[in-house]
């Protein structure tokens, strides 16, 4: 039995040669996730993988690499009792509002307010 993430060997067109640097938000998210992992021992990289491997194919395919990991991190924070998605969403809403933006938590997009 294999998950939707297990795509090695399937046809997928030519491999792109571009190698963009991670955006700043992704570096901060990964640093935070690593800090929680290492200094709180609250979650493992294996749990992170398990989480994005089970978040559903639509979300997995629709989100980018760092978006998937950050979404999985947020879900694990709730699973481990360190935060709630409600609190995380409320904080996102506040940050977006300060920028004149609105978050769609279902579509996982940010748009003009």
């Amino acid at each position: 039995m294999s998950g939707y993430h297990d795509i090695g060997g399937r046809p997928a067109g030519p491999v792109g040669a571009h190698d963009p640097a991670p955006p700043d938000w992704a570096l901060r998210a990964e640093a935070l996730r690593n800090a929680v992992q290492r200094y709180r021992g609250a979650l493992t990289l294996d749990e992170l993988r398990r989480t994005f491997e089970t978040m559903g194919e639509n979300l997995y395919d629709g989100l980018g690499f760092y978006e998937r990991r950050t979404e999985a991190f947020a879900r694990l924070l709730e699973e481990k009792g360190l935060a709630t998605m409600a609190d995380i969403h409320a904080r996102m809403d506040a940050i977006a509002a300060a920028r004149g933006q609105v978050v769609d938590h279902t579509a996982k997009t940010v748009g003009p307010g």
Partner: protein, 93 residues
């Protein structure tokens, strides 16, 4: 800690275990034969770590070299892929 089951150079087959949940053996490698290129230490089992368990006892990890021709038609002769596979996913052959 007991000695590793496979020596460098050992011929192994990658199994197609029905393990549910998180595993680290991709489907394109299931059933392939290869050679142990090196022992990569013993590590906590990621299949258990993925669910918050301690993953003990540690499991030997091996880098296995597989001929690409074994996996895909049209592969160039001599090309190989090396993948790190846990001991319980391997059988001697």
């Amino acid at each position: 800690m007991s000695a590793a089951r496979f020596a460098t150079g050992a011929r192994v087959r990658i199994l197609d275990l029905p393990t549910p949940g998180h595993v680290r053996t991709p489907r394109y490698l299931r059933g392939a034969q290869g050679i142990v290129e090196r022992h990569c230490g013993a590590h906590r089992n990621p299949e258990a770590l993925a669910y918050g368990r301690d993953g003990l006892p540690r499991i030997d990890l091996y880098r296995v070299r597989v001929s690409l021709a074994e996996l895909w038609a049209g592969a160039a002769a001599g090309d190989v892929i090396e993948v790190e596979i846990y001991d319980h996913w391997l059988a001697p052959c």
